[in-house]
Subunit: 317 residues, 3 copies
C-alpha cells in the first residue's frame, strides 16, 4: 500500500480499497482523545492552514477540532471576505499557494470553484486536503460516512446504498467513486433535473459500479442497508425561518425519509446518514428512530480527520 | 455547595451566594497568569468552542484569552456569516449542538435570540456558557463586574448600586438576579421607555430585592457605592465618528456621569463600572478620576473566565 | 544597541542600521523551524492578539504562523466586521487598547487609519506591531524585504534599488526610511499622480537618502540590483477575473517588468521583490527567471516575524 505521508487528499478516485480500511483503523486508534475529551500531543509541532473561500461549519471545525485534539496549531481564514486572497480577480491559486505553503504543514481548502484544491496541490510543497470544491468532490465527508458505516455495520461489502439528493453535488461524486472499490449496489433517487449526468454515468460504467436509478424512495427503500441523503431544495432566504417552517411540502415525497416510511418499509438494520444541515427531507422525528446515525457522524468526523491528518503529516505511518 | 464541574453557565438566577465567592477565589488564584503575562498548562488538554452568532470583541476575546492563558485550545466562529449554522433558517440549535459538542469540551455561545444558549445546553453533552443572548442575560459579564467589586471594595453586602441604562438589556437582568443573593440596595435610573418591565419587577419582588427607581442620576448619586452603567443611546451609523462626536448632547444629563457631577455629589469611595463600548454617557475625562474601574474590568474579565473555565472543565474542584 | 524587549514596531524611522542586522541574525537562527516544518516552544507561554481592522492574508497569517512555529497562542479578529471595536464611530483606540492589552502579550494591528497603531502604542502596556496603517507604514513587510535581500545578496550597502509603484503607499514609505540607514541609491518610478510627495521628498533629503526619479523602467533597469515592485492599478471589481485578465494593457509599460525587458536590459544578478498580490505589472512568466525572489519572501516573512516576536517578547535578548 502506498504511504499516506505527504499525500494530497483531493478525490476518492485516488483511493484504493485497503487504503480506506487502513485510514479507518488509524482513526479508530485515535478516537479515545475525542471520546475521553482530552487533547494529546501527537501533532503538537504541526500547524494546519485552513483556506476556506466559502463559509463552512462542520467541515472546517471538524478539521480544526481534530488538529487541536492532537495538540496541533491552526491558522488560516474562514471566509473569502476575511482575505484578499479570496478575491478571485486578484490572485491566482498558484500565487496564493506559494504563500500559504510556508504558514503551516498541511492546507485544508474549501473553494467555490471545482478543481481549485487540485490546482493548489500542483504548486504546494505541503499536502493539500480538498474540503469541498464547488460541484467537484468532498472526500473527507465521504471518508467520514464510510468510517461511520464501517463502525456501525462492521463492513461495507455486500451493502445496498440508497443515495437520495442532487446527483450533481460533490458528496454524490465522492461516494460514487469510493463505492467502486467495494462490492456494493447503489440506487440513486433524485429529481429529474438533478440526476446523474451522462458523463458521470459513463465514468461509473467504466469503473464497473453496480447501480440503478429510481423515481421514488418508497419503491426501493426496502432494499437499502445505508440511506445516504442530501437536500434537494435550497432554503428560501427571503423568508424567516418561522414562515419557511410553516411552508411545508417543500421537498416532494419522492426524496423524503419519514418515520412512517421507515416503519412500514425499511429494513430494521438500515442506517441513515446525512451530511447536514437538512431541510425538510429528513424530519426531526426521525432522530428518535433506530435508523438515525447522522449525529454520530459529527463525532466520527473528528476521529476520521485525526487519522487522516496523523497519516499525511507522517506522525503515524 | 454544588460542584461547578460540568455545569452550564446560563443565568445568574442559578447562582447562590457562596458560589459567587468560590468562583472569585478560584479566579484570584489564577490571576497571576494574566498579571505576569505567561500561559500555564492547566487546560492544555481542553478545547473551547466559541459559537458567536453575533460579533463581539470583549466577550469572545476574554474567553479566548482565558483559555490561552491556561494553555488550552480554541476553535469556532466569530460571526454568523462565517458559518452555515449561523443561518437560522437552515438549522435548529439542536442539530447545530449535536455537531459542536464533538469539537471541544465547552461551548461559549453568543446568540441574537434569547434562550438559544439554554436550548443548546438542553442538547449538549458538554457545558454551555451563555455569552449574551438577545435581551436575555449576560452572566459572565456580571460575574466580572461583581468580581471587580469584590476585589476593589472587598465585599458586596452593604453596598448601594446605582444602575443606569436600558433596563431591558441582558446585563441589567443578570446583575439584578445576581444582587438578590446579597444584602444590597439598588437604584435604577433609565429613560421611561427603557425602564424595568412590570414582569421583571414582579420577579425582583418575588426574590425580595430591595430596589427603587429614580429619574435623574443627580438626585441619587450621593448614595451610590457602585455606579453601574450602560449606554442609553445607540450610535448613529449614518454619521462619521467626527460628526457624531461633535453632535453632542446625545445622552440626556439624567443618564450621564460627568467629572463635575462626581466631584460635587458622589462618595469619594464610589466606583464606576461600564461594560463598554461607551457612547457619551461616560465622557473620557472621567477616566482620570479615582472612581473609574472599567479598565480593570478587562483584566478581571480574563481572570474570571479562567476561574470559571477551570471549574466547569473540572481542572479545579 | 537598544534592547528590542518590550519595544513597539511602528515605523522604520525608528530603526538603526545595526538593529536591522541583529533582527536578521535572530530570524536566521530560528528559520530551521519553518524549513524543517516543526513547531518549537520558545513562545509557548505567550499569546499574540491580532487586531486587523482590514482583511489581510499574507501579513496576518505570516505573524500567526511565526507565533505557532514558536509554540505560541493566537487570538484576535481578522476583520473589523468581526468586532464591535471595528466600528470606529463607537470606540476610541484608547478604549479598545485598554481591553486588548489584557488578552495577550503583543498586539499586531492593521488599521485603515494612518497613525492608529502609534495611538494604540501610546496607551498599551504591551508592545504594538504596526501591520500596515493606511497610507502610513508597513514595517514588517519591509523588514521581510530587506531580510530577503540580506540573505540572497549577502549585503545591503552598495546596492541600487529600483522602486516601482505608488509612492504614496505605506511600503514605499517604510522602505525609503529604512534605506536611509544604508549606503545605497534609490530610483523611483511611478505614474505622475502617484509620485513622491514634496513633503516626503523633504524628509528624504533631510535624511540624506541618495535618490532620483525616472519615468520609464526601461531607462533605468540596467542599474538596478533590487527591483522593488507594487501595483499601480487597482483590480476592477466590476469585472470577472476572466474578463479582467483578457483586458490587457492595464498597467502602462513604464511600470511593468517583463521577461523580455529583464533579458534585454537587467543585470543578471538583479532580484525582484513584490509584496503581492500582483496585477499585470509582473506577468507570471517572470516567475521562471533567475530574478524572481517574491515567493521566497513568504518563507522569509515567517522567519522574520519569528525573530521580531522572539525579540520584543524577550525570549531572545
Amino acid at each position: 500500500m502506498r504511504s499516506f505521508k505527504g499525500r494530497d487528499i483531493l478525490s476518492l478516485k485516488d483511493f484504493e480499497r485497503e487504503e480506506f480500511f487502513y485510514m479507518f483503523e488509524v482513526a479508530k486508534s485515535l478516537e479515545h482523545y475525542a471520546r475521553d475529551r482530552h487533547n494529546g500531543d501527537l501533532l503538537k509541532d504541526k500547524t494546519m492552514v485552513t483556506a476556506f473561500y466559502q463559509p463552512s461549519t462542520r467541515t472546517r471545525l471538524a478539521h480544526e477540532a481534530a488538529m487541536h485534539r492532537l495538540g496541533g496549531h491552526v491558522t488560516g481564514f474562514a471566509d473569502a471576505k476575511m482575505t484578499r486572497a479570496g478575491d478571485w480577480y486578484q490572485e491566482s491559486i498558484k500565487d496564493t499557494v506559494h504563500m500559504l505553503e510556508y504558514y503551516g504543514d498541511v492546507i485544508v481548502m474549501r473553494h467555490f470553484q471545482q478543481g481549485a484544491p487540485a490546482e493548489a496541490a500542483r504548486w504546494a510543497s505541503i499536502p493539500v486536503v480538498n474540503a469541498g470544491d464547488g460541484w467537484g468532490e468532498h472526500p473527507t465527508q465521504v471518508l467520514t460516512d464510510l468510517y461511520t458505516i464501517w463502525k456501525e455495520i462492521g463492513h461495507i461489502d455486500g451493502l445496498t446504498f440508497l443515495c437520495i439528493g442532487d446527483m450533481r453535488m460533490r458528496t454524490m461524486h465522492s461516494i460514487s467513486y469510493a463505492l467502486t472499490q467495494f462490492d456494493v449496489e447503489v440506487i440513486y433517487v433524485s429529481p429529474p433535473d438533478m440526476s446523474l449526468t451522462e458523463e458521470f454515468k459513463a465514468e461509473l460504467d467504466e469503473r464497473n459500479l453496480v447501480y440503478e436509478e429510481a423515481e421514488h424512495v418508497a419503491d426501493v427503500i426496502h432494499r437499502a442497508d445505508v440511506i445516504y441523503m442530501e437536500p434537494v431544495v435550497q432554503p428560501d432566504y427571503t423568508k424567516a425561518r418561522q414562515e419557511a417552517t410553516e411552508d411545508r411540502g417543500l421537498t416532494p415525497d419522492n426524496y423524503k425519509i419519514t418515520r412512517q416510511l421507515l416503519a412500514e418499509k425499511a429494513k430494521g438494520s438500515a442506517i441513515i446518514l446525512h451530511s447536514l444541515p437538512r431541510m425538510d427531507e429528513l424530519p426531526p422525528d426521525v432522530d428518535f428512530t433506530r435508523h438515525a446515525r447522522y449525529w454520530q457522524e459529527a463525532f466520527n468526523g473528528v476521529a476520521l480527520r485525526m487519522g487522516m491528518l496523523a497519516l499525511i503529516l507522517g506522525a503515524i505511518d
